[in-house]
Symmetry: C2
Subunit: 448 residues, 2 copies
C-alpha cells in the first residue's frame, strides 16, 4: 500500500519550493485518461476508494522525514519544511470523483482534487498509479465478462502481476469490472472478494497415481472440489474419477484445444453419469478467446483468466494525466492551461454529464462545473471528500460491480463491440471551448 | 510487500491436503521463463533478493489465520492445520539461484527451491510475481542503457506502474539492469537507489511568470536544478534563463520532436554562455527512440524513461513457470515430469553452465545437477539459502548492477542487437535429455 514516499522526487522538491515561497494558494488538479487502448471502446473507472484511503491516511513517519532530510537533492531545503510541515502533514483537500464501476472516456476527469497547491501536487504520483492501473484492469474485465455471456469469469493472474500488491489491486479491479472472484487470497482478505481455486499439476505429480491425487482432494474438499485433469490425459482422468465414484463440483482443463477438449471431456463426463460436474477452462485466455469459445459452443461453464487481466496485457499502461486546471491568484481561483506541443489541456474545474435517451447513453458532455446541466444529463462527478475526510462511507465492492454491470449495458451496442468498437461521443461544452480559446490566446501572449 | 496470503487459494488448499495426508516428503521446484518476448535477445535475472527476503520473513499472523479458518472453501480442513501448522509456519527450505544481474535465457532455472512439499508449493505465487516482473524490467532497462551508449538513463515511471509497490519494484529492477537511478522516492528509501527529479509543468503554471518559476527553483536547488522548459516555448524559456542569469545543471524537454528541439535548445544554450547546462529528455521514450536519438546525434545528455520501464510495456508479463521437478518417494528423491500438451517440462534438479571462449559466452548448457562441469563452463546457480536462512549477506544493489553491465557485454554481439537479435544457444545436456526421455516413456505407461 502507498506510503508518503510513494511519489516522484520532483513532487517533493516542488513541495519544498512552494513551502519556502509561502505559496499556500489553493489549486485544482484533474485526473483523466488521454486515449483509449486500440481495441477498447470504453473504460470502467476503478481505484477511487483505494485512492481516497491513501489520501486519508497520508502521513510522513519519522524515519521517512529523516531520510528526506539527508537527501543531497534536498540539502538546501529549510529545516522547518521537515520539522514543521512534513511532520504535521495531512491531506486537507476536497475531492470529487466518479463512482467506481462507472464507464468513463478519454479526457473526462474521473477524479478532481482541490487543495493547497503543495498537497494537491504531492499526491499526484500515487493517485495516478492507483487509479490508472485499476481502471485499465476493470475495463478489460468488463470486456471479458461480456464475452463470457453469463458464464462466470474468475481472476487467476496473481503470479504474473507486477508484484504481490499489483496482484491484489488487479483482483479488486477485475471484480469491480464484473469478475466473480479471484484466486488471490490477500485480495480476499483485504477486500472481501470471493475466492476460487482448483489444484495445480504438482498436486497430481506429487502423488503416486492420479487416482490417489483425486481421491485425496475430494476427501478434503467434498462438493467444492475442482480437479485438474490434464496432467496426463484428460479423458482417462475422467474415467479415473468415475471409476473412483467421485462427484467433484468441476474439472479444469488448462491446455490443448479447449473447444475439442471440452467437448470430449463433457461427453465423457455425461457418459459417466457426471452431468452435474462443471467444466472450468483456463490457460492464456482473454476476451477474444472467450468469445470464440462461447461462439463455438464449447461446453465450458466457468473461465479462469490470468495474465490478460492481472497485467492488463493489451494496455499495460493507460496514458493518464493529473493536470493543474485552476490555481488561486490574488485570492481568486483562475483557470490555467499549458501549450506544450501535443499535450494541451482544457482549463478550469469541470463536470462530466452523461446524456441518456430512453435508458441508453447517447453522449457525454465535459463542461465547466458552473454551467447549467444539459437536458437529460446525469452528473458523473460527485463530492467524495471534504477537508481531507470522506463525506460518506465507501460503497461496498459488490455495489461497484453491480454499477459496472448495469452502466456498461447502457452504452450504445456499437461502443461495446469487442472488435472495432465505434467511438462514443464526448462533447466539450461551448462554455469550456470558449474558456479554452480565451486562455490559449492570453497565454500565447504571455509566453510571447 | 508480500504477506503469507500473497498466494493463490489453491496453494493453500493443496497445503492443507498435504498436511492432512501427512505428506512431509521433500520436493524441488524450479522457476524459469518459458520464452523470450518478441524483440528481446536475452533477459537479466532480477528480484532474487526480494524473493529471499519474502521467504525468510514468511509468517502467518493471527488475523490471517482467522480469516483462513472462516473461509467456506477451507471449512473441512482440520483445525490443527490452522492452530498448529500455519501458526508455527516458517520456510525451512534450501534455495539455489542465479545472481541478480546475470543474463538468463528461456528454460534455464533461475531459482530452485528444495523444501518440504507443502512449503515449496505455498510460495509459488509470490516467487513468480516477484521474480518475473523484475526480470522483465531489468532486461528492458539493459536494452535501454545499451541504446543510450554511455548517457545515463533514469527510471521515471512510478505514475504508470501497476500500483505504488510495482513502481518501487520497477525502479529497483531498472537499476539492477543498468539505470542510474529513479524518481521514485520510496525506492530510494527502501533500496538506497540514487534519486533524480526535475520539475513539472504545474510548477511553471502555478507561478505568474515562467521567469519567476525558474528563479525560485534555482534559488532553492542551486547547481542541482533541472528546469522544465517546454511549458510554453522552449527557446524563449532558454532566453528567460539567460536573461535572469541562471546557470541550472540542466534543462528538460518533454514534448515535440526531440531531435530538432534538443538541437535548437543546445544552440540557444551555447549562444547564451550556458555550455555546461545539460539537456535532459523525457516523454514516451523506449530503447528504439533512444537509439534513434543517439544515432541522429541529438545533443541529449540524460534520458528519463517512464512507462516503457515501469510496466515493461513490450512484455508486461513474462511467461514464467515454477515447476515440480523432483519429489521424494519412499525416502528417495525422484525426478518427475508432466505431459500436458505444449507444457512439458524437463525433470530433475538442474544446473546451468555458461560456456565461454576468450571472454565471450558461446552457449549455455542446462544439465542435471550431478553431471560433471563442461569445459570452460561457469555454473550460474549457487546456493543462497540453507534451511530457510541466507547463507551469505545479500550483495549490494550496486554490485548487481555492475554484474549486469559486465555480464551482458560478454554475450555475443548478435544476441545483443536491439532489433532481430540472434538466438543464443542453450543446449540441454545428454544426461538431461536421457532422463527426460526415460521418464516420459514411463509416465505415458503410468497414464496409459
Amino acid at each position: 500500500m502507498p506510503t508518503a514516499l510513494s511519489t516522484d522526487l520532483y513532487e517533493l522538491t516542488m513541495a519544498a519550493g512552494y513551502f519556502d515561497a509561502g505559496m499556500e494558494r489553493a489549486a485544482t488538479f484533474e485526473l483523466s485518461v488521454r486515449g483509449l487502448p486500440p481495441a477498447r471502446g470504453y473504460l470502467v473507472a476503478a481505484g477511487i476508494e483505494p485512492a481516497l484511503a491513501y489520501l486519508e491516511e497520508l502521513r510522513f513517519t519519522a524515519p521517512e522525514i529523516e531520510y528526506l532530510r539527508r537527501l543531497p537533492e534536498l540539502r538546501r531545503v529549510p529545516a522547518r519544511f521537515f520539522d514543521d510541515y512534513l511532520h504535521a502533514f495531512r491531506f486537507t483537500g476536497d475531492v470529487w470523483a466518479m463512482e467506481e464501476g462507472e464507464p468513463v472516456f478519454p479526457d473526462e476527469p474521473l477524479l478532481r482534487v482541490t487543495a493547497p497547491l503543495i498537497e494537491a501536487q504531492l499526491v499526484e504520483t500515487a493517485l495516478l498509479s492507483i487509479v490508472l492501473f485499476q481502471t485499465s484492469v476493470a475495463s478489460r474485465a468488463s470486456r471479458m465478462v461480456r464475452a463470457a455471456a453469463g458464464r462466470p469469469v474468475y481472476e487467476f493472474g496473481a503470479r504474473r502481476a507486477h508484484g504481490p500488491e499489483a496482484g491484489v489491486l488487479a483482483a479488486r479491479a477485475a471484480f469491480v469490472g464484473g469478475c466473480s472472484g479471484t484466486s488471490d487470497v490477500e485480495a480476499g482478505f483485504v477486500y472481501g472478494l470471493a475466492l476460487a481455486g482448483t489444484m495445480a499439476h504438482s498436486w497430481v505429480m506429487s502423488h503416486d497415481t492420479e487416482t490417489e491425487a483425486f481421491v485425496r482432494f475430494v476427501d478434503m474438499y467434498g462438493d467444492r472440489t475442482v480437479l485438474l485433469i490434464d496432467t496426463y490425459d484428460s479423458e482417462r482422468a475422467v474415467d479415473r474419477i468415475a471409476a473412483a465414484r467421485l462427484a467433484p463440483f468441476g474439472v479444469r482443463i488448462d491446455s490443448g484445444d479447449l473447444v475439442a477438449e471440452s467437448r470430449r471431456v463433457r461427453a465423457r463426463l455425461d457418459a459417466s453419469g457426471l452431468e452435474a460436474t462443471k467444466i472450468f477452462a483456463s490457460g492464456d485466455l482473454d476476451e477474444r478467446r472467450i468469445a470464440q469459445l462461447v461462439e463455438r459452443q464449447a461446453p465450458i461453464d466457468i473461465f479462469g483468466v490470468g495474465t490478460a487481466l492481472s497485467t492488463s496485457s493489451d494496455a499495460p499502461a493507460l496514458g493518464g494525466v493529473y493536470k493543474l486546471v485552476e490555481v488561486e491568484r490574488a485570492g481568486t481561483a483562475r483557470p490555467v492551461v499549458k501549450l506544450s506541443p501535443g499535450k494541451g489541456t482544457y482549463p478550469g474545474v469541470k463536470q462530466v454529464w452523461r446524456v441518456a435517451d430512453r435508458g441508453k447513453a447517447t453522449r457525454d458532455i465535459v463542461a465547466r462545473s458552473d454551467e447549467p446541466p444539459p437536458r437529460h444529463g446525469r452528473p458523473l462527478l460527485d463530492q467524495v471528500m471534504r477537508r481531507g475526510r470522506r463525506v460518506r462511507p465507501a460503497p461496498t465492492i459488490e455495489r461497484m460491480r453491480a454499477r459496472a454491470l448495469e452502466a456498461v449495458e447502457e452504452l450504445p451496442a456499437e461502443v461495446l463491440r469487442l472488435d472495432g468498437p465505434a467511438d462514443y461521443r464526448v462533447a466539450v461544452s461551448d462554455g469550456l471551448l470558449r474558456l479554452t480559446g480565451d486562455l490559449q490566446r492570453r497565454m500565447h501572449a504571455v509566453a510571447g
